[in-house]
Symmetry: C2
DNA sequence: CATTATTCCTACTGTATTGGTGGTATATTA
DNA sequence: TAATATACCACCAATACAGTAGGAATAATG
């Protein structure tokens, strides 16, 4: 059940970008420094966020990354989706055709319920919510 | 986010044992055959269920495995716990001391909520519920 | 135009996990 | 004691993960 490190890092990076929203691009170097994450590794992780349509990049000097949309329009489910590839406990939940008995498999029903519960929680939160929460502690408090 | 195969297999094996509850021990060989799972692999998986106090073993001829308690007293959370080691998305959720900022980390709050949602769902179901559901389809319908 | 800052791309590496196999020891029963 | 079945232990191949490395492409700046 453990999340990949890249998912944890990726969320933290996204929150940094959300905090910086409206103030121009933020460089990976800075995010990595603030968060204590290998800059080279973060590079790959943010590329996933880019592919997922969460962030946009600005190349060249003074470039960096910005959120692709307003923080209140980015659900955490989108972020996890971009980083994990899918928010899914078991393949057959998404793809019935993987198993002949999928349609009335009780184990599958369990994993579907678990998965739906996770997705609901993630969908209920946006990057804006994260920034607001962090603001209350008025520091970079989202470090894992 | 994907579950390990052993967790899926383990749940299915536990459901088989629940279905057989009251009819004496069930052999791994049989479960593996019914479920299309490598008997040798299943051996290891059921050993985890045993360590977790979910099943008891009976050695020797006519031996096999039985549930350690009535199916209605075994929550699915216990089964996942036995197989995954912990029902946890991130280490720091369980163990605050892993990160100095854990106490007011917003990312950690996210993963805590996700994890709690999963645990709630699993806790809400017992092996008995699984047997009852499967009965409605009156076959081995829990195959993944 | 040269320099600098930054993203982008691709490949490599060590480690751990996963999924699975094989063999032997041990206990129980008939 | 022979047959059955679990228990235990060691091994193996494939994959994923986390991180490193080097350089190419691109944009801004002086």
């Amino acid at each position: 059940m453990k999340l990949a490190t890249r998912t944890r890092y990726g969320l933290r990076a996204a929150i940094e970008l959300a905090k910086n929203y409206g103030n121009g691009p933020l460089q990976i170097k800075l995010i990595g420094k603030n968060q204590g994450i290998s800059v080279k590794y973060l590079e790959q992780i943010i590329a996933m966020l880019k592919n997922g349509g969460i962030v946009r990049s600005l190349r060249g000097a003074r470039g960096g990354y910005v959120l692709a949309r307003e923080p209140e329009k980015i659900g955490l489910d989108e972020i996890v989706l971009a980083l994990e590839g899918s928010i899914s406990t078991v393949e057959c939940v998404e793809n019935e055709s993987l198993c002949a008995r999928a349609a009335d498999c009780v184990a599958r029903q369990v994993w579907t319920k678990v998965q739906d519960a996770m997705i609901d929680v993630l969908k209920s939160m946006t990057l804006k919510d994260m920034v607001d929460k962090a603001q209350n502690h008025n520091k970079l408090t989202y470090q894992i």
